[in-house]
Symmetry: C2
Subunit: 386 residues, 2 copies
């Protein structure tokens, strides 16, 4: 096998564009100097656009989980009630964080592979009027579900004063996000998914309404105290040492998104989602999610007549191609293809062609090329066919 090739089709980490790698290789600069201030000044407007907000998007040097924790400890206090919408492994993480802080989570859970429904949330909010915040996942990485956060937020606002808190780690930058227009109060993301960067930075923004609560919240916190982050960022600074090389990369990644245009970025992810789905439908291999619930950044496939783990092993051995397996209850039952960030329709065609070979090697009879053909047709029809 060709040495040194690695085809990363995971739902994070995602591949790094060469110009971002080059940017990250810049020599270090002092993080208290003017150069870092200039860098942060360049980054701030771009991040706001991606989040769809006029608020500052704060930059934590941390993994996404720390930003989820920041969303909890800055807005809710011990003993308070919250609602956690669990559609997979990352919904559960919100609940675990709440429990660790003595916060009482009510849970709305859907079958893994299905999106959350507004009615279920409305019902819970009416049953438990003391709920202070609703935590939900935009793209549930573990299942490839994109929850309809705009509709869910609308339902919450209609029924409650609870804050709307959204984990957008595995999709923001790849799917449209209108934090302000949709009435989201806290939105979180991470660097290693659609932002085309290595892990190490997490992003978090808060609405005016959320800031009032953050300012008066008495939950003890230090590194994750968002007030300090905002006070610093407004002066183009960070409260603690930032992961400078990833900031260099972030500036470049935002420039690439600007160059393609955010509308173009979102359209590309939509087309890739439709290409992937059409391919597996043509191959007769079941998708985990419905078309309505599917995420533009990751597609989960639940094979019935071959082994998902064997396929993954074959792809790795034959093509140095990595796709993800299932997590927790879906462990060994599904495989997941990441198509986010630095991934093009041509890259997806490659993944599908290789996976077809893998499926044959895993023992299922398919018509070779038929998945590629279906994806090509989606591409040629402008990605608008389903």
């Amino acid at each position: 096998m060709l040495a040194d090739q690695q085809i990363l089709r995971l739902p994070g980490p995602s591949p790094i564009p060469p110009s971002v790698s080059r940017a990250m290789a810049q020599p270090m600069i002092g993080h208290r100097g003017q150069s870092t201030a200039d860098l942060l000044g360049d980054i701030r407007p771009g991040l706001k656009k991606v989040f769809g907000t006029s608020q500052e998007v704060l930059i934590l040097t941390a993994s996404g989980t720390a930003a989820l924790e920041a969303a909890v400890v800055n807005t809710v206090s011990p003993g308070e009630e919250v609602l956690v919408v669990v559609t997979g492994a990352f919904g559960e993480r919100f609940a675990d964080i709440c429990k660790a802080y003595g916060i009482h989570p009510h849970i709305v859970e859907t079958e893994w592979g299905k999106a959350a429904a507004a009615e279920d949330i409305t019902e819970m909010l009416q049953a438990y009027p003391a709920i202070k915040a609703v935590f939900m996942t935009y793209c549930e990485t573990s299942t490839g579900v994109l929850n309809p956060v705009k509709e869910l937020a609308e339902a919450i606002r209609k029924n409650s004063e609870a804050l709307v808190i959204v984990d957008g780690v595995s999709c923001i930058g790849g799917v449209e996000t209108k934090m302000d227009d949709w009435g989201l109060d806290i939105v979180v993301s991470g660097s290693q998914k659609a932002f085309m960067l290595p892990a190490g930075l997490a992003f978090i923004a808060a609405s005016e309404r959320a800031w009032h609560i953050i300012e008066t919240n008495r939950q003890p916190r230090f590194y994750l105290d968002l007030k300090k982050h905002r006070n610093n960022l407004l002066k183009d600074a960070t409260p603690y040492t930032p992961a400078l090389s990833i900031l260099f990369g972030l500036k470049q990644a935002l420039m690439l998104m600007e160059e393609e245009g955010l509308e173009g970025v979102y359209a590309r992810h939509q087309v890739m989602m439709k290409m992937a789905r059409s391919a597996f439908k043509a191959l007769g291999v079941p998708l985990l999610t419905s078309d309505e619930d599917a995420s533009p950044t990751v597609t989960a496939i639940r094979p019935e007549d071959f082994d998902a783990e064997e396929l993954r092993k074959i792809l790795k051995e034959e093509f140095a191609m990595e796709v993800a397996g299932g997590q927790q209850q879906l462990s060994k039952k599904i495989f997941r293809i990441g198509h986010m960030g630095y991934c093009s329709p041509a890259d997806l065609l490659q993944a599908i062609a290789a996976i077809e070979i893998g499926i044959v090697k895993a023992g299922k009879k398919i018509e070779l090329g038929s998945g590629v053909c279906a994806a090509q047709q989606v591409y040629l029809n402008g990605g608008m066919s389903r």
Copy 2:
């Protein structure tokens, strides 16, 4: 379109493996110091293996053309007769160099797209017994022909004392080369093709028989005087300033070839050739060369019912994918896909899938996915079917 993506499927330059790029980014070292001596000492054995020779493979800081010129000026003198085997643009270059030095080239020419035949060469050698050297091209980049240099060399040796001089720029490192066993006297290659490096280095090796002639040859030359290069390389040095960063890269590229194994590298190129050929046969798009004459590093396609230049433009615009056009008499009539060096079967599947879309957009009706399917079948059959 995804910004910063570039899919290079040219017959040179070829893509650079990430570890080679990283190696080339090492800080400069003095080219007269021990570090450079160590570097050259590490490189020498690997280059010999790739050339299939126990002779030193000299490293010129130059493009391939300079090494072709070195092959001429070190072995032949003004007024002498040589035979040049012309199967395309690069055969012609050898003739041009000879003429520039007052050397008289007899020409054996084949139709572009066909390999040279031993009989034609034998006939010329018998007709012109004063011929001192025969110049030929191993892979003719302009047509995708692999000339049977082993058989041609055999025929030359049987009929003449002429030196056998081979331009292997666009295939050595990707196809088996047994300089010593096959009785080749001078073999030339370059860095930017199957060696997975940027352009800037050229390689040249000479047989014992050739060295006797080189040592007494009176053609004026300085930078290209192979004696100086050999005298230095035997002491792990270069006579003039070397392109150090490409030497860093060369060491790493040779390590990657070693890791895959040369047999593995050659088998991969064979499979890719067969995949490409099967795909275009299935699509009903004519290949320029016969199966027998085809090169494992580049495939030339001569479409009849769509425009090659339009296809190239579409591939560039839609997928940032570059394939080559035709040269000279084949200009605008063919397109050429490079599948050499840092290129895997998965990369070729991607190229075929994208080209299928391009062909449809260029106006030809094809069965989408059928080229990919044919290539997948070749891959699954171990690449041994034709």
